[in-house]
Symmetry: C2
Subunit: 237 residues, 2 copies
């Protein structure tokens, strides 16, 4: 490859990574706004979360096409290839975070019609903050190319599960205590599940960043196991 | 490209498609067995579903690496490129179907410890059969390269949502009527949701097959809409 080609490919890679970072910023905002939709019962905000999701879909398609074209025309190998493929895979994970945020916003609209259940909303808010911070942290690790930070996000995978467990139990107790809240609690249950899945995408992204930088898979299975007789909901995640 | 290279690439493409078909067969079996786990309360079957999931993970990684290598070394374009990328994307969807089947099996284990709720299990079984048949149909369309069959799967996307709606309502009614069933019903709710998501992956695969064969995206949005005030659970999918 000539020096000119090498330079042009480096620029293309930087552009690709910048697009992923931009998509990451949007996904973060969608997740944060979706949580606010629920905690503030803000139907207008929900509407804008739902509408803005299309942008993430478009960006994912663009990033994928750009990456495939780069692989076909530039035939990158080693870290260049890993960077190109990573961009495409991270975009896929971010698109799904967007879908989950949209779903949370839709449920926020439904919930705004029923009585607020303040303690539960607080728990959702705390879990939401944790998940949003994991997403932010792993995207920072990606942009900075810092494997230690990505590994740290990966290692704390179980914190989200613990929150989810505790909300699951809280919700069940609430439903049993007051069956009139069952419908609202079912929506909150799915909102908690969606947050747990966004946390899981953050873990996926951490694995992708680790592979991109080191060329190696994570050494062990996720902190989360494959228990056959799960003691609690987190084992089912 | 020499005739020899063309032939070799054609063979590679066939091999790639065959690997995806093999993965599809495994995913179908996992989904069917996961449903049986719940309907027959079969803990041993659940255990084998949980263990076999690793095979799908391995196949996904292999298919992705094979596809990326083909794109880099062969620089395919037009339909050849679409076939290569499609294989990779279908494998991604199948891997997630496998995760969802594994999660259903895990919940099947938990449910086997509580009283059976026969009418609900029947509804889950019917929804499971519908979803499994959609997955089978779209994989057949992929193997046969028949766009009409893929389009037909895509067009019936809302059937699964209708089933899911009806199960959602049934479950809520059951929980309100007998709060002691709340925990079991929460697991059934997630099982129904997982089935709905497997149905959604079948729709994704239909879109991928359509694009692979025609080079065009589906002409319109999915039958499922973006209602701001959803009337029922299906609108939230």
């Amino acid at each position: 490859m000539s020096e000119h080609t090498v330079k042009a490919f480096g620029e293309e890679l930087n552009h690709l990574a910048a697009e992923v970072a931009r998509m990451g910023g949007l996904a973060e905002a969608q997740v944060a706004d979706a949580i606010d939709t629920v905690t503030r019962r803000d139907v207008q905000l929900a509407q804008s979360v739902i509408e803005r999701d299309a942008k993430l879909d478009v960006l994912e398609v663009e990033i994928e096409r750009m990456a495939i074209k780069m692989i076909a025309l530039r035939q990158p190998f080693a870290q260049d290839l890993r960077r190109t493929v990573s961009a495409m895979k991270i975009a896929g994970n971010l698109e799904r975070c967007g879908d989950l945020a949209k779903n949370i916003a839709k449920r926020g609209v439904v919930l705004s019609d029923s009585e607020p259940i303040t303690p539960l909303t607080r728990s959702i808010e705390r879990m939401g903050q944790l998940v949003a911070s994991r997403l932010k942290e792993v995207l920072d690790a990606y942009s900075a190319g810092e494997v230690i930070r990505a590994d740290a996000v990966w290692a704390r995978d179980d914190e989200v599960d613990e929150h989810y467990n505790s909300i699951f139990r809280e919700l069940l107790t609430y439903m049993m205590g007051d069956p009139r809240t069952i419908q609202a609690c079912a929506h909150l249950l799915f909102i908690a599940k969606n947050l747990e899945r966004i946390g899981d995408h953050a873990t996926n992204i951490a694995e992708i960043v680790h592979y991109e930088i080191t060329g190696e898979d994570m050494p062990t299975d996720r902190p989360k196991g494959n228990t056959l007789r799960p003691f609690d909901e987190g084992d089912l995640a």
